[in-house]
Amino acid sequence: MRISLKSIGMTVKLLAIVALSAGLIMSPAMTGGVQAEVKKLKILSNNPFSGKAASWGFSQDRGVGLAVDKVNQAGGIKINGETYMWEKIQCDNRYIPADAVSCLKRGVAQGAKFMCTLGGAVTKPQIPLINKDKIVTIAAIAGGADFTNANNKYLFRTMPSADLTIAIEGIKIYKKLGVKKLVLLTADNVLGHSDAKTLKNALKVNKMSDILVAEEFVPIDTGDFTPVLTRVLAKNPDHIEGGAWPAAGLALLIKQARELGYKGTFTNLSGAPKVGPLVKIGGKKNVEGVIMLRLWPPDQLPTQAFKDYWAEYRKLYKQDPGANSWESYMAFMHLSAAVEKAQSLDPDKIVAVMRDLKIVSLLGELQLIGKDNPLLPGYGINNQYTSPLPVTVLKDGNPIIYK
């Protein structure tokens, strides 16, 4: 039997027509079946995905992404009988304030009513728009009452503020270490300056102002700290507070300080840098003894849910999660539960529910604090998430709980 090219072409065409017809017949419109319409709830991930703060941005974005997938896989959320699925849309703000505002405007134009973002430096200029457009926002920001206050009712802080990290834990650590000459060498942005203000207030309250011998601010993308270190090391400090550096910045700061002969101790109370790159770039020997907050040692995770989260993150991204990832994961789960409980998309109703809602998440019970809390002066509103705050110290390249 001879098969011509023409007959093959005809056969292909026939098969295509049959497949198309089958598709049409099976479609809901032809069969008369009606699928329930699934609506979308958009959350804007307004984060740095490039530049020196990108590790923070990816960390938060992935945490929210895992939470979005979790809620959607469980069938989404139901509001007044209608099913809603979450959709995360991304915008790279490069950790530049103007870009973050542009991202927010773009997100609003795309229909986002919710947002996750990070960094006081880029969140501050977004606040007027967040308030005007009532964008329910979960944000990893240190700072203090400048951010969390009764005027900013749509802005929820996913991490402990500087009033807890620096003013409470920081002072405890300095006392325990017996710090006599403290240098603050932090990022030259809103976060760094806010940290400095909080630190100076806390030192004053504790009658320790005289230990602060120098404060310096350098850009977050600094690679060579040698000139500024030459300046501050001339004051013979015994402790350097890094404040708010991502891993690479802190690692280079420590490495170069050690190269210049600095023998004292380091803390980094706001930044929660990832340990892997910190050790690799800074050198295991150099970063030995660095004390940090918000980081859990992988072998000391407190709950099974957290262990499962850690394992899932590692499986997906081939690296350990950063603090921003689990903090934003928990905050998003709380937000999503609040939207469902409010049975409304009205931002005012949602934020009212959020403030009273308690859920069990990765680190146990999750709730919002801030109002009438003596540790959080001037907040006046329950817009800060609270969860256990670990203090870790690096030993032989690994974080362990600092006692």
């Binding site: 020196k52 990108a54 030259d188 993308d221 000139p227 300046r231 190269e259 002969g261 990832k274 770039i281």
Partner: protein, 283 residues
């Protein structure tokens, strides 16, 4: 403290000189601003990282591999993107901006989000008179940068290729009448500039961290240097690099980071006001 500032200034100047050399060369030959310069710096740093830390090649072998591979990448970039639009200044400029944005964005997807580190084979501290210290890796990077610049001077000043490049730089049409293939000479010049950027990335990666954005700050410094030195003038950019290195060191140490930064940019503005062509630029 003075000695430490002087040593830091020398090291920073050498690093800046190396980073700016490729940019100066490309501008000198093609009169085109290459906004993708930082991308080639980053790719050189990444190539060195993968060659040493992932594949396990010795550091200097990895650096040699960069020298072998990047001329091809540079020539391909010149032929594929740059050649057809280089006579339209704005189109060439925008094309290199596009490459910069695209490659940096792609870099985060391809190379991942974790910052990386490259180890230099020589470690330790050198103690100098006056209480100054100099990390051995910085000393070596500075010395290699000086050696590379000496090589560039020799290549441009004493070889047949250098004569071709200088001829094309002065007058491409006249060079063609003298039997020089201007297109080919420009491709070689561009390839050389790209290789210098990649080499700078490979060397500087041992001092700082490596990520897809790591070329942006060096590129900014390089631009300050080539404006300060006189656009396209290699000697001018060497002088400008050391001036900037000393300003960063002395300014940052004595007055704080911001003051040092302000002094650097302030000097550029002053030079642009009083000598717009830069320190060694032709009027």
């Amino acid at each position: 403290m003075f000695m430490q500032m002087a040593v830091t200034g020398l090291v920073l100047g050498s690093i800046y000189m190396l980073v700016a050399s490729g940019l100066t060369l490309i501008y000198g030959i093609m009169h085109q601003v290459n906004m993708a310069h930082g991308v080639f710096f980053m790719l050189g740093a990444m190539a060195t990282y993968y060659a040493t830390e992932v594949i396990g090649l010795p550091y200097f072998v990895a650096l040699f591999a960069v020298v072998l591979v990047f001329p091809i990448i540079g020539a391909a970039f010149e032929r594929g993107i740059f050649r057809n639009i280089r006579h339209i200044w704005l189109a060439g400029y925008m094309a290199t901006v596009g490459v910069w944005m695209l490659m940096e964005g792609l870099g985060w997807q391809v190379f991942g989000t974790e910052q990386k580190a490259v180890s230099f084979p020589i470690t330790g501290l050198i103690r100098l008179p006056g209480g100054a210290v100099l990390p051995a890796n910085k000393l070596w990077v500075g010395l290699i940068a000086i050696a590379i610049m000496a090589g560039v001077y020799y290549l441009v000043g004493r070889t047949a290729l250098g004569r071709q490049l200088r001829a094309v730089e002065q007058n491409p049409r006249a060079a063609e009448l003298m039997g020089i293939n201007a297109d080919r000479a420009m491709a070689k010049g561009f390839a050389l500039g790209v290789t210098l950027a990649a080499l700078a990335g490979g060397l500087v990666s041992t001092l700082y961290s490596v990520d897809p954005s790591c070329g942006s700050t060096p590129m900014l410094k390089a631009f300050i240097i080539i404006i300060l030195g006189g656009l396209g003038n290699v000697t001018g950019s060497v002088i400008a690099a050391y001036i900037l290195g000393f300003i960063d060191s002395f300014g940052g140490s004595l007055l704080g980071y911001q003051a040092g930064h302000f002094m650097g940019f302030g000097l550029v503005i002053l030079i642009l006001i009083f000598k717009p062509s830069g320190i060694m630029g032709d009027e």
